[in-house]
């Protein structure tokens, strides 16, 4: 049960987006820039970084939601997501992505854990400064989103299948479209 009174039926961060539209807007816009605008890291790679950090933070909602979005970008392949969460150094992803996941994991444990040798490893694998920068910001931002979602004890559906429909929409349209159920919950709240 959430620590504050949220609209029923809206899981995870969506209940919070309905609760506080003013902060929802920039949070969604940040997610859009980090995860859904064209860049040299693929959308799948960026969602995998977000999913990995969320799993390290033990945030069930975020790792399942973003894992499902990553799977959409990977033509439905769930196995890579489980591999990355379990042991990314032996997952079937590029050496460059492994080096970026290593940096993301260190940011998750605390920013000061990132050392010059981590950055040099990523550079040797061909990562640009922008890619390293965005990896750190995705990891830092997801520590925020994860703590926001769990710090208010939001509800999360346990069945991974229930995340797929919404994931397909986000994978296609990005993070700026406000889902109909969030809009409806906001309208209800403003009348109450």
């Amino acid at each position: 049960m959430p620590h504050i009174r949220l609209s029923e039926g809206l899981p995870g961060i969506r209940g919070l987006f309905a609760f506080r539209p003013e902060t929802a807007k920039p949070l969604c816009e940040l997610a859009e820039v980090l995860l859904h605008t064209p860049g040299t890291l693929s959308l799948a790679e960026r969602e995998l970084i977000a999913t990995y950090v969320s799993s390290q933070n033990d945030c069930y909602y975020c790792q399942t939601a973003h894992g499902a979005i990553a799977a959409c970008h990977l033509d439905g392949d769930q196995s890579i997501i489980s591999e990355v969460k379990r042991d990314f150094e032996h997952a079937s992803v590029s050496e460059k992505l492994k080096s970026l996941l290593a940096i993301a994991g260190k940011v998750q444990r605390g920013g000061k854990n990132v050392q010059l040798e981590d950055v040099e490893r990523a550079r040797r694998q061909g990562a640009t400064d922008q890619e390293i920068h965005d990896t750190v910001l995705i990891a830092a931002a997801f520590c925020m989103y994860n703590r926001y979602v769990d710090g208010l004890a939001t509800w999360a559906p346990q069945d991974p299948a229930s995340y797929r429909e919404r994931a397909a929409k986000v994978a296609r349209d990005g993070y700026l479209a406000i889902p109909a159920d969030v809009q409806a919950a906001r309208a209800e709240r403003s009348q109450a």
């Binding site: 920039p26 949070l27 940040l30 820039v33 605008t37 605390g110 920013g111 400064d129 910001l137």
Partner: protein, 83 residues
């Protein structure tokens, strides 16, 4: 000041108010917080983060701005981030 890990980030600021601040501090030879380089590098992400921070810290809320800054300072202390 020590250079940051990513020289491309430091040397490629986008046109933004914080870029002007960096230039001014550099030409005056004064120290400045290196988070400015991160702010200047990804202007859109910074604008969104700034909008979020503005709403969180100064938006309508029963907690006074002073109390909110105190929560931010306490959390940053807990995270061992002096800036």
């Amino acid at each position: 000041m020590k250079p940051i890990f990513l020289p491309d980030v430091e040397s490629n600021p986008q046109p933004s108010p914080v870029t002007d601040l960096i230039r001014a501090a550099q030409s005056a030879g004064t120290e400045y917080p290196q988070i400015w380089h991160l702010f200047a590098y990804r202007a859109q992400a910074t604008a969104n983060l700034g909008a979020f921070t503005q709403e969180m810290m100064r938006g309508e809320c029963p907690l006074s701005p002073g109390i909110r800054e105190l929560i931010a300072a306490f959390t940053s202390y807990g995270n061992d981030c002096p800036f």
